[in-house]
Symmetry: C2
Subunit: 90 residues, 2 copies
């Protein structure tokens, strides 16, 4: 481990690199890309290819953060509210 990454840092990184393109593309088209990545994750799970599973999980996370940027959601706050307030729902 060479150090942690905060959810906020990752969301900001996606905003910096992709927000302009994502918002131009639009919410529903960006959601469609997100779902395409979910499909790639499914494929990698079926193939049981760990390296590719790791890459697809990163991609799904990246597109989820991009979506959140388009709709103006702070993912850190959303996660905290649902899962750390005071603890995860069981």
């Amino acid at each position: 481990m060479s150090g942690d990454i905060t959810i906020k840092y990752a969301q900001d990184l996606m905003r910096r690199y992709y927000y302009e393109r994502d918002s131009k593309r639009g919410l529903h088209a960006t959601f469609t890309w997100f779902v395409e990545e979910v499909g790639e994750l499914a494929e990698s799970l079926l193939k049981d290819d760990k390296e590719s599973i790791a890459e697809e999980i990163a991609d799904v996370l990246a597109w989820l953060l991009s979506l959140a940027n388009i709709v103006g959601i702070d993912v850190t706050e959303a996660f905290r509210k649902k899962y750390m307030n005071p603890e995860p729902p069981l």
Copy 2:
């Protein structure tokens, strides 16, 4: 903002609360639950209900981290490798 959450903290939290149940349920069943949450996110986007979008984004993230726990993927490392090495692919 009352402080940042690292991806690692969130993944560990999901492991602590849900790993036993998730791993007993199995990978494909957990993936199915994850996709169910993606569907709920779609529904909230179509309804344009910001509070519900925030909650569903948190849920999709939570299930993605749970999936990663089952397959033994460190999401921080996966994200770093794909998007911070040295910078996001365009």
